[in-house]
Symmetry: C2
Subunit: 463 residues, 2 copies
């Protein structure tokens, strides 16, 4: 029995390892386009500044390590065609340019996502870089080494853009952060975006919002970046890094006839099986289920990709398509990032998303502190809870500050467990003075929610 996995990184390598672990007789091959099959992509921004010191640190597993597990890896190979009837593949060796055929009994598609490049003049200039693969950081590092840029533009105020802005600042560059929307980190509510903006400005980053990039302007002699144009102005820059978003890479699966979902990612069932026979999919190329709304969603994140890989690898090994095997229940889109000294995290729906989903959200926001008030070293932050107006169920949370990771993980687990505000006020969480206030900010915010629901109840009763 022959299993082929297209794509490495989090989903592909996990799927291959899991399948092989369950069925040691399985013949497993991973094809990957990039020179390295197993990369910790979330670490890329930190390799630019040297916080992560060595390129090898981000190579999670070498071909030799896969080989020891009985997994064959072919890096630098692009699968160009899937024939789902004959179960055959056309593969191009990117080194030699030659193509060859391969076959599979079972296939897992982990083609990931690709960077969006803004469709403006000069996006192909020397000095303008996406940041998606280890090869992108290689190119960025080379550019920095050769040209010692002093001024940088980061395009995109989402988490990648913010992480890059921090790491370029750490190298001593003057960084301008340029965002098309009216605020930073628009996946969150405006309170969070404003907190971030104030913080990065304090750290010396120039922030331009409501500023879609119009052109990258080159030094005409050398075809090298000289400035970035937006909102009628030009800001000088010898390097620009794009963090404007990614899209699922579905061309291969689509050409083979796989159903694509409304989010633009590959549609799968709860076993992560695609519409093609004996073809599963996992990771950033796959559409998922939003655990709050029950609708389709697309959340390209490394930890989720790894979890999907476990499920797809198990089911591919067992041959479970519609029943049996493992289910992947869905996602909450829980995420976190650090920008300078600020941790920013969220899970579930934002207030705006809850509004759009017809959930008539009720929200509560509290100031958080990371120790008891009298214990030294405490830092302030904020926590916002979003509850469904009819049921009182928690549907989302956002946090900024030193304990944001803890608070959002508590909330993500609570949403998983379908808890409502009356549960949250009595949640039994760990307290001691060095770790937070006597009542967790989650409990405090739930009390505010409770008072607000009581007030509405009272209003209804007197109407």
């Amino acid at each position: 029995m022959r299993l082929v996995v297209i794509g490495g990184v989090a989903a592909g390598t996990k799927a291959a390892s899991r399948a092989r672990r369950l069925d040691p007789d399985l013949e497993v091959t991973i094809y990957g386009e990039e020179p390295d099959v197993s990369i910790s992509e979330c670490g890329l921004p930190y390799l630019i500044s040297g916080v992560v010191e060595r390129r090898e640190d981000l190579v999670a597993r070498t071909p030799e390590e896969f080989s020891e597990k009985g997994i064959r890896t072919l890096a630098g190979h692009r699968v160009e065609e899937i024939d789902p009837e004959e179960k055959r593949l056309v593969v191009r060796n990117l080194g030699t340019g030659e193509t060859f055929e391969d076959s599979y009994d079972r296939l897992i598609v982990c083609t990931g996502a690709k960077s969006v490049v803004p469709p403006v003049d000069g996006a192909d200039l020397d000095g303008v870089f996406p940041l998606r693969f280890l090869t992108d950081t290689d190119a960025i590092a080379r550019h920095i080494r050769e040209h010692s840029p002093e001024k940088a533009v980061v395009v995109g105020g989402g988490y990648i853009g913010l992480e890059v802005a921090e790491n370029l600042t750490a190298l001593g560059m003057q960084v301008s952060l340029v965002e098309a929307a009216d605020g930073l980190a628009r996946a969150f509510g405006p309170e969070v975006g404003e907190t971030i903006e104030a913080h990065v400005k304090e750290k010396g980053v120039r922030v331009f919002t409501g500023a879609p990039v119009e052109a990258f302007v080159g030094d005409e002699d050398e075809g090298r970046l000289r400035a970035v144009r937006f909102g009628g102005r030009e800001v000088e820059a010898e390097i620009a890094i794009l963090g404007v978003g990614i899209r699922p890479e579905v061309a291969l699966a689509k050409a083979a006839g796989a159903e694509i979902g409304e989010t633009g990612a590959i549609r799968v069932n709860s076993r992560l099986k695609t519409s093609l026979p004996d073809v599963w999919a996992a990771g950033d190329c796959v559409e998922s289920t939003d655990l709050v709304t029950g609708g389709p969603t697309w959340v390209p994140l490394g930890d989720t990709a790894n979890q999907m890989g476990r499920v797809a690898g198990t089911n591919a090994a067992l041959g479970t398509g519609d029943g049996g095997g493992l289910e992947f229940p869905g996602v909450l889109g829980t995420g976190i990032f650090k920008v300078f000294d600020l941790a920013v995290a969220g899970t579930g729906l934002s207030e705006e998303e809850a509004e759009d989903a017809g959930l008539s959200p009720v929200t509560a926001q509290v100031t958080t502190v990371s120790t008891a008030s009298y214990y030294p070293g405490g830092q302030k932050g904020l926590l916002k809870l979003i509850a469904a107006g009819e049921t009182g169920r928690l549907v989302g949370a956002e946090a900024v500050g030193e304990t944001a990771d803890k608070l959002v993980d508590i909330c993500a687990t609570a949403i998983w467990g379908r808890l409502s505000y009356p549960d949250l006020v009595n949640l039994d969480l760990a307290y001691a003075p060095p770790f937070g206030p006597a009542l967790s900010p989650v409990i405090q915010a739930a009390s505010v929610l409770s008072n607000e629901f009581d007030r509405r109840e009272g209003l209804r009763a007197t109407e």
Copy 2:
């Protein structure tokens, strides 16, 4: 309508404030024996060393602040008798020694817990101190100021004893920690106890386990502590602090005829009403329900006391005894403490408790790390999950190390939500390199559980 609250601190002050907030016409009085009604007791160990600088920092609210809320506080007053038929109280003013009568329409008993003093010779010597009230720290501080002790014995290897050992070490004392049981922190499994023991020894604390104290030995001239005797040996000490445990303070309620539960604490219903008419109870004097076993339990912790105070205060204000109002669902006994550089946390049942409860526990233990492997500054720790063998439900968790608070809070929320290991492996938690590994240790440990359950399933299938 007149509400009397007996006892302040976390439960009493919260109950009074909450009741008054819901019913501004309520006449509310708090009687407290100690000189200060509203104290952050969890901060006491840190006041000894000066980590918490000022005594006032631990006075959460002053009588004036209560007065502004319309709450009368009478500190230094002991309620000596409750007449539940006539709804009358006998109160002693501890300053003048005089007694007087008072009456109530509704009563909340928050008499808390008292320190256990080992029944051995010399426990009343000058230099031997319990640590329960702010007045105890006052006495300890005075003793340290006057006698500059260089050698200290801390009796009890639970969290109070460990916190005290750290804070006395910080003052430059040579600290011996003496524990009757065979290991430290016996509420946890032996892995945790051994990790703690190694850590405190590294910090210079001498540890004696399996060593019940036999006597405190005095300098006969002055009646002052000179040494502590245990296991046939004498260890010199000019100060000894007792952290051997506490017991619920129920004498007053019991004398009035209130039912006492099998844990020795006051029995209440889900509305925190006692068996006496119009009498509620909250905090360390109250028996609670274990959310895992459904049986009675007694967990005296400040955050739980506060949460109970909210429920009792609400129900006393509304007069809800058996129906309506708020319910207090129960506790998991979630707790955390810091000892030197180590955070130690737990929730739910230990493996031993799960065994005793007939849950045939299956456990998984993983090494945790507080950042992604390639991100600098990560520290190692451990996480142990305890699941019920029949259902796979999470019933307990223990963690040591930098992210112990987060990991245990995730698990406490998961137990609340009645999640099982198949839920936990797909939990959607927040990941970025500075905050932990790509898959949370909770997910990693759940995967280990999953493999173990699969293995047992396989064994059963082949039997």
